[in-house]
Point group: C2
C-alpha cells in the first residue's frame, strides 16, 4: 500500500528533524545541554520515539558527526575548485579552519565525540569524500614520499591547528601567521 511509503517518508523526515534539532541545540548551548529529555521536548515527541530511530544518545551524536563531515567535505571541495590556480592548498586549509571555527559543536561531534563511526576501508562515503580534496592538494607535493602519507601528514597539521586554536592553546591573533608557516613548509620544494 501507499500508506507504507508515506510512513517511511514521515519516519525519514522525523529522523532528519531529530538530527537537525540535536545539531542546533549543541551549537547553541554545547553538547552537554543536548539531553535526551530536552531533545524529545524540542521535537515534541516523547523520549522512546528517539530510541526507535537511534540506538541511544551516542548514535544521535554520530549522526550529527556524519552530517557534519559531509558538509566539511563539500566545503573543502568547493574551496578547492573555486581557488585560483596555485592557491588550492591555501583555500582548502582555510576552509578547514573556517569550518572548525564556525561550527564548533559539529566539529566536536565529528572528531572527539563520535564513537560509532567506522574508519579505514569500510568508512562511509562522507569520510572518503572529505579525504579527496585534501589528497588533491597534498599529493602533488609528495615528492619521493607516499602521496597518502603526505596527505595524512598535511591533514594532521591543519587539524592540529584547528583543535589547539579551538581549545585556546595558541595565541589567538596569530592564526594567519601559523597557517602561512605551514603552507610555506609544505610547498617549498
Amino acid at each position: 500500500m501507499a500508506t507504507q511509503q508515506r510512513r517511511e517518508r514521515e519516519r525519514a523526515q522525523r529522523e532528519t528533524l531529530i538530527v537537525n534539532a540535536a545539531r542546533e541545540m549543541a551549537e547553541a548551548d554545547g553538547w552537554p545541554a543536548v539531553t535526551v529529555r530536552r531533545l524529545a521536548e524540542r521535537i515534541e515527541y516523547s523520549q522512546p520515539v528517539l530510541y526507535s530511530h537511534f540506538a541511544g544518545r551516542g548514535a544521535i551524536v554520530d549522526a550529527v558527526a556524519l552530517l557534519g563531515i559531509g558538509e566539511l567535505a563539500a566545503s573543502l571541495e568547493a574551496a578547492r575548485v573555486g581557488a585560483a590556480p596555485g592557491e588550492e592548498l591555501e583555500a582548502v586549509a582555510q576552509a578547514y579552519l573556517d569550518f572548525a571555527a564556525e561550527h564548533p559543536a559539529v566539529f566536536e561531534a565529528a572528531f572527539t565525540l563520535a564513537e560509532g563511526l567506522p574508519f579505514g576501508p569500510d568508512a562511509p562515503d562522507e569520510l572518503k569524500a572529505g579525504f579527496a580534496p585534501l589528497f588533491a592538494v597534498f599529493a602533488p607535493l609528495a615528492g619521493d614520499h607516499d602521496p597518502e602519507a603526505v596527505t595524512e601528514a598535511g591533514w594532521a597539521a591543519i587539524h592540529g591547528l584547528a583543535v589547539l586554536a579551538r581549545d585556546g592553546r595558541l595565541r589567538p591573533r596569530h592564526q594567519r601567521e601559523r597557517l602561512a608557516v605551514l603552507l610555506e613548509k609544505f610547498t617549498s620544494t
Copy 2:
C-alpha cells in the same frame, strides 16, 4: 602546633592518592568509568571527602591533566637533551607521539577533557615547561617567520598526528612515514 603540619601533610598525601587513583582508573577503563562513587570506594573514603579536596569531578580531571602535562614536558625535554646533535626535532616529536600512545587517558585529560586550566600569559609552569622544548627545536627553523608562530605550527602538526592516529583516523601502520614527511617538510631549506 606540629599537629597542623602533620594534618596538612596527610591531606597532601591523600590528594595525590586521589589523583593517582583517578589516573589509573582512567587508564584502565576509560574516563567515563571514573565516577565519583567508584573513585571514593577505590581510595576507601566517602564521596564528600573528594569534594573537600576538589571542587568537583572536573577539577580532578584537571589535576590529572596538569600532572600529565608536566610529565609530557619532562619527557620532551629528556628526549631533546638526550638526542644526537641534529636529531633533536625528531626525538622530541617521537617522544610526543609516544606519550600520546602510551598514556591515552592522560593525554585525553590534558587536551580534550580539561576545562579549568588557564592558558596564555597566566598559565601554570607545567604548560610553559611543555612549550619550552618544542620552542627549542622549532625556533631555529623559523627563517623569516616569528619563532613562536613556527613553534605553534610545528606543535600543531605533531599534535594533529597524535590525535588523528589515536582516534583511528589514519592508516595505523604508516605513522613512521607520516612523521618522516613532517620532519622533512619542516627541516628542508
